[in-house]
Each structure stands twice: as structure tokens, then as C-alpha cells.
């Protein structure tokens, strides 16, 4: 346990220091959301309708952008080999790294959501709903993305491939995330079901992601 906590602390510290690039994701999220009104026109009624979808899409792309940081830096400086050979199970190491990554890359997106919601003319309830669905859904994005990151880390053109591998797997999260956010605005009674499915996707990702990532790291790094 202490080894895992040390790893968690180290990963967060490395991500927050110079060269870590933890907040690049939030910046990218902001830029994507700002781009949307230029594309669809500054029609506030339309933006209000599209708002949850825009926020979800932005969060999805932003979490994709930072995913290759998950293993790539450790692979470059060789510490990933040490982690693979340590006595701590690799699955737990992957889980810890995913949690650390979510804390520095996923959580800031959710914190930024209320401010971006203002830009898109969302009212308080809708913003809260989007933030809540992101809180339930972004762990699933991190866990499924981790599989792609682990596959890509051993390959040379991995970064290019990562998006192609991960995006199809993240479609269900997007569907239920936007469905829950829209339900919160249109018919509050329908909010519970998609939110529960979103939580279920995150929990399933919690089990499958570390297992698959550890398997591909073990096989890919030899």
C-alpha cells in the first residue's frame, strides 16, 4: 500500500511540476469550447441547446490529448521498466497511475465546467448536471484510454494511433453522458437511468482497464 501511495504522490508531483503539462488539458478544453460559437454562430439559444454536447465533446478530446502522458514519460526515462519488474502487482500500479492521471487531468476539467457553462449560456441546473455527469463519466474515459496508452507506449508512432484505438471505445460514455445532461434540462425524471449507466461504465472500466493495460505492458515491453 505504501508503495502505491508513494507512486500516487510521485505521479501527481511530476505532473504538476515544470514539464508535466497537467493543465494543458484544461487549456485545450477552454479553446475547444471557445471555438464552437465561431463554428455554429453566436446564437445563445442554439448554444444553450448544444451546450452539454459541446462540453462533453470538449472534455472527451481534452482527456484524449493528455492520455499519452500516462506511460510515455515513464517509458522514456526507464522508470516504467522498474515499475514492471517491481513486486507490486502491475495491475495495481496501472490502477494507481490512472487515478493519479484522473486527479491531475480529469478533475480540473470538471472544475472548469461551470465557467465554460457560462460561456455557452447554460443555466445553473444544466451546468451542475453536466459537471455531475462528467464526474461520473470521466473515470471511464481515463480507464479505457489507459488501455490505448499502454498499447501505444511500446510503439514508435503510438501517439497517432492512440486516438484511433481509444475513440471507438469511448463512444458509449459520450452517448450516456450527453443523454443524462440533456435529460436533466428537459425531463428531470429521466436523469437517473443514464447517470447510473455512466457510473456502471466507470466501474466496469475500473476492472477491465488496469487488467488490459497491465497485460499489454507486460507483453509489449519485453
Amino acid at each position: 500500500m505504501t508503495a502505491l501511495f508513494a507512486l500516487l504522490r510521485r505521479d501527481i508531483q511530476v505532473a504538476l511540476r515544470i514539464g508535466g503539462g497537467a493543465l494543458i488539458g484544461v487549456l485545450f478544453f477552454l479553446i475547444v469550447v471557445v471555438l464552437m460559437p465561431f463554428a455554429v454562430g453566436p446564437d445563445l439559444a442554439l448554444l444553450k441547446k448544444l451546450g452539454p454536447a459541446i462540453l462533453w465533446l470538449g472534455a472527451l478530446l481534452a482527456s484524449l490529448l493528455t492520455l499519452d502522458r500516462l506511460f510515455a514519460a515513464d517509458h522514456d526515462d526507464g522508470s516504467l521498466d522498474l515499475l514492471t519488474m517491481s513486486r507490486t502487482p502491475l495491475e495495481l500500479v496501472c490502477l494507481t497511475k490512472a487515478i493519479a492521471h484522473w486527479l491531475v487531468a480529469g478533475l480540473p476539467l470538471i472544475v472548469a465546467t461551470p465557467i465554460l457553462g457560462l460561456l455557452l449560456n447554460l443555466d445553473g441546473d444544466a451546468t451542475l448536471a453536466v459537471a455531475l455527469t462528467l464526474l461520473a463519466g470521466t473515470p471511464a474515459l481515463t480507464f479505457t484510454g489507459m488501455i490505448g496508452a499502454a498499447l501505444a507506449v511500446a510503439l514508435r508512432r503510438g501517439g497517432l494511433l492512440l486516438a484511433v484505438l481509444v475513440l471507438p471505445l469511448s463512444i458509449p460514455v459520450l452517448i450516456f453522458g450527453v443523454a443524462a445532461s440533456n435529460a436533466a434540462v428537459l425531463e428531470p425524471a429521466g436523469f437517473g437511468a443514464p447517470l447510473s449507466i455512466l457510473c456502471a461504465l466507470s466501474l466496469a472500466g475500473l476492472v477491465i482497464g488496469p487488467l488490459a493495460a497491465a497485460a499489454s505492458l507486460r507483453h509489449g515491453l519485453d
Partner: protein, 243 residues
């Protein structure tokens, strides 16, 4: 003769060389019979002649899922038993499966235009098959991104097994969600709802397409083995100092 005997690629090559002509002939005959029966099948009282698209569309859609199943079994063979032919099988199956999925999407879209009034509808079955197609393409991209075949095989095996989660979602999407696509009508509890005049040609076509897959798959596996041998010989030649 067990699966482990086939692990020797040379034995696999000689065995498949013997059975491939027979398989190809059986495929051709069954396809001809199936196509003739499909052409002779009566028109549907509602759909008219467009119902005949079913005889192409449904076997393709079945195979699009079946091929991922074959790849998942091969992936298990790669990861668990390190069977030398399992990764060859997985690699050879991916483009064939992508082709079947693409044909299922195209024929379904052509069938949807006269029946539903639209080429495309974002319902659960169509969307999940489209995701399957994208995953096939991603898998092929992964195969092409890594030079070392055995390392590529293990990476692709992990992705194949993760992607296999999508298969039951496709199969049951028409039961779970209320969709435009009709629910299962051939393989269902309480027997098929399809009339014999349509069911028999459909089953013949399904068997014919399955044989077509086996034939193409074995031929592609042979090509892949030969391609690897050529590559090994070329590398050997390149590493030898010039006399």
C-alpha cells in the same frame, strides 16, 4: 490430429493446400445455389422485391460478428497458449471481417432507403455495427504500426479482447433498445418467425458466406505465413556481408 499438430506452419501449409480447392469448390456451388434460390424467392407482400437484399445483408452482418469471435479466440491462443498460428489467424481475419462489416453496412443502408425512407438512422443496432467497423479499422492500423509481428500480435490480441465487449451489445441492441431495426427473427426463443420460402435461401446463403470466410481466411493465413518467410529470408540476406 489436434490443434497443436497444426502449430507447425509447414504442416499447416501442406494440409491447407489439400483442402483449399475442395473448400473453394463447395463455396462456389453453395453460393450459386443460394443466389439462384434467392432470386427465385417470392416477393414480400409488404416490401416487394427489396426483401431480397436480406439474403446478402443478413449473412454479412452475422459474419461481421462471427469474425470478431474468431479473432477473439485467436487472441486467447496468442496470449494464453502462445500458439504460433494464432497471431497469423488473427491478422488474416481482420481485413476480411472489416470487409464483411462494410458490406453489411452498405447493403443495410441500401435496404433502409426504400423501407425506412433514409439511408442512415442513428439507432442502436446501426451505431454499434458502425463502431465495430471503426474498431476493425483501428485494429488493422495497429497491425500495420508495429514491425515485429509477434509484438504486434500481442498488442492486437489485448485490443481484440477488449473490443469483444461490443459483440453482445450489437447482438442484443435490438432487444434492449426500441429501435428502427427489426428485432431478431431467425435465432430467437420460440422458433423463427421467417417463412420457409425465405428461411431456406437465407440459411443456404449463410452457410455459403461462412464457407467463403473459411476459404478466404485459410488462403490469407497461407499468404501471411509465406510473407513472413520471404521477410525472414530477405532479412537474412541483408545481414550477410557481401562477398
Amino acid at each position: 490430429m489436434t490443434l497443436i499438430d497444426l502449430a507447425n506452419p509447414t504442416r499447416f501449409l501442406s494440409l491447407t493446400a489439400k483442402i483449399l480447392p475442395w473448400l473453394a469448390a463447395a463455396t462456389a456451388i453453395l453460393l450459386a445455389v443460394g443466389l439462384y434460390q434467392s432470386a427465385m424467392a417470392p416477393d414480400d407482400y409488404q416490401q416487394g422485391a427489396t426483401v431480397k437484399i436480406m439474403f446478402i445483408h443478413v449473412p454479412n452482418a452475422w459474419l461481421s460478428m462471427f469474425v470478431w469471435g474468431v479473432m477473439s479466440l485467436s487472441a486467447l491462443g496468442t496470449l494464453v497458449w502462445r500458439h504460433p498460428l494464432a497471431d497469423v489467424s488473427a491478422k488474416a481475419a481482420a481485413p476480411i471481417g472489416a470487409a464483411f462489416t462494410f458490406l453489411a453496412l452498405v447493403t443495410g443502408s441500401l435496404w433502409g432507403r426504400p423501407m425506412w425512407g433514409t439511408y442512415w438512422e442513428w439507432d442502436a443496432r446501426l451505431t454499434s455495427v458502425l463502431i465495430l467497423f471503426l474498431m476493425y479499422l483501428g485494429l488493422i492500423a495497429l497491425w500495420r504500426a508495429v514491425e515485429d509481428p509477434s509484438r504486434a500480435a500481442r498488442a492486437a490480441a489485448v485490443l481484440t479482447l477488449v473490443g469483444a465487449i461490443n459483440i453482445p451489445i450489437i447482438k442484443f441492441s435490438v432487444d434492449w433498445w426500441n429501435t428502427l431495426h427489426q428485432p431478431a427473427s431467425v435465432l430467437r426463443m420460440g422458433g423463427s418467425t421467417l417463412d420457409k420460402a425465405f428461411l431456406i435461401p437465407l440459411l443456404v446463403m449463410a452457410v455459403a458466406f461462412s464457407l467463403l470466410f473459411v476459404t478466404l481466411h485459410l488462403a490469407a493465413m497461407r499468404n501471411e505465413i509465406l510473407r513472413r518467410r520471404v521477410r525472414a529470408l530477405q532479412m537474412q540476406q541483408a545481414s550477410q556481408p557481401r562477398a
